[in-house]
């Protein structure tokens, strides 16, 4: 029940209403020094919120890399957002390489992206369209059920579903799901 209550708290926190106006334009340098503009000019942009030392985000990494490989050819752009200001750009670069994530990463040291889109845990995905309107916010899939318990294989591929529906020009059935992982602590 406490778990349920905690989950409910997380849910309440996450299910901030989806913004109905485009999120503010953001420009931020990635870990390689290239300045990235949000939203990008791609059909849609997927932001993956991750942390170098979050085991739950790391265990999801192979699937994140597969999603990047599958959707980049369909003109979807990807950006990994590293949430912990304690980690250096070099550590971010190394993490991207080690887990073969296949897309650029930024250090969101001031939490400007996190605040703009209302991200709360890692791993979490946010999808923005070309104008900056939020299409999806939530988990990648339902592999993790609660801390310490996971399915053998995910049953629902929430992010892939949302992207498929968007690419087919259909409305996104479930635009928001609760993500489970390491919470993003506020900047001290």
């Amino acid at each position: 029940m406490i778990l349920a209550a905690l989950t409910a708290t997380v849910l309440a926190y996450q299910q901030l209403p989806m913004p109905t106006i485009p999120v503010a334009k953001i420009s931020i340098a990635d870990a390689g020094g290239v300045v990235r503009q949000l939203p990008t000019s791609a059909k849609a942009t997927v932001l993956f919120f991750v942390a170098i030392d979050c085991p739950i985000a790391n265990r999801m990494a192979p699937e994140l890399a597969r999603i990047v490989r599958a959707y980049r050819p369909k003109n979807i752009s990807f950006l990994f957002v590293y949430v912990d200001p304690a980690h250096s750009g070099q550590q971010v670069q190394q993490h991207l390489r080690e887990y073969k994530l296949g897309a650029p990463g930024i250090r969101d040291a001031k939490h400007s992206v996190i605040k703009a889109v209302g991200a709360s845990v890692t791993p979490q995905a946010v999808v923005l369209d070309k104008t900056g309107l939020m299409l999806y916010r939530g988990r990648i899939n339902d592999l993790f059920i609660e801390h310490g318990r996971s399915r053998k294989l995910p049953k629902t591929q929430d992010l892939r579903n949302a992207l498929d529906q968007f690419l087919a020009g259909r409305p996104i059935k479930v635009p928001q799901t609760a993500a489970l992982g390491c919470s993003i602590p506020p900047l001290s």
Partner: protein, 437 residues
Amino acid sequence: MQFYFELASTSKIGSNKNENTFDRGAPTLDRSLFLLSKGLIVQNRGMRLTRWLWWTPSIVILGAASPTEQVDFGKDIRPILAQKCVPCHSEGGSGPFALQTFAQARKRGDLIRLVSLTGQMPPTDARSDLVSLTPHQPLIGTELRTIQEWFRLGMPEGAKTKPLPTPEKRKPFVSDHVVVAQVGKGQAIPSEGRSATVVYPINSLSGQVGYLGYFSFQPDAPKAVRQVVLAVQRPGQQPPFTQTGLRPGTSYAVWSDGFNPWQSGSGYISVEKEDRLWLRVIAVPTGKPEPASGLMTFGREYRSDKVQTKTMGNDTFVVEAEKIVTLRDEWVLDQDIDLISILPEARFVTDQVRFIAKSGTGEKLVAMVHTWDATWPGAYNFAKPLRLRKGTSLIYEASVPNTKHGHAAEDEKSQTLRFGPRSTDELFSCHINYIPR
């Protein structure tokens, strides 16, 4: 030196004298909290319907907050971390992240609160009525309350403190009687899956061992590797590891890092010149490929004791869907024995394993792992060999709630459960190292 135990007492398993983790001088509140947290641990996987109980501690905790002395990190939380968490959660340790500084603990505050309350951390412990066994230290009631209170207060830091020191890596002890070898080059743990098993032979060490006194392993991937089993293939025998576990009767030794510093390595086995050694590495994938290799150390001890291995359990059990059963196997001793270590094997549906000694005068709990967790497997060694008399029945039991509540994912439908190699199959076995007397 006497260490045998005579099964003369009539006390039952329930009246466990080993509840020494609870400080009896503490107020009644702590005791009730402690018991609740115990109950909660037992129910962690099996009986989710009783989760309403979990509310009770938190309500009591909030009501019990002392108004005079505020909980803070330096004074209250740091000592708990030092004793119960940092042995694994340190830089380069087996835990996925470090908990040595205020900043690190604050970052994980909600997770620390959650996993301590649900009994997930510190990971599975075992207890015994008879002899001390892996003195694994769970969080006690006052510690749980302190953590809850700290979180409620917004995780105050208090006085500035130094980072907790990283536990020293134990250097291999080197002497003429110790063999140290780097093994498993090129063997990899896959990047994905709920758990992973890698089996490989060690060809370079044939004929070097003699009598194996202890076994230790320093994995190259400490965050992934949970357990390493060393087993001996005798001439003319099949390799010791089957797809699912150990071949019955195989001599083995086990190392588990997750249990340090609560548990040491192995039993004692003899290795002859023509024997071949194999390793089985059990790991939790981390998201990228990790090496299954490591530095292996074992001592060549020359003892007269001949250690034998007995395998209990069976591979013929069938558990129908939506049934909760207790699997049971019995071994009646035809001679006196000294029990050295036990290695239970089970997967994701089993939620508890018990090992009971029964004689004409009563029964006693030899060992129980009360929240079985397949990702934290381990062998359990007795602090000193436990003598059991001829005629005693050793009973090995496993609780298998094959209902949707018993599965790792609650909405995974339960199906008929059998012995098998897949992670959705189950195991029911226990390997026992003993010396006949």
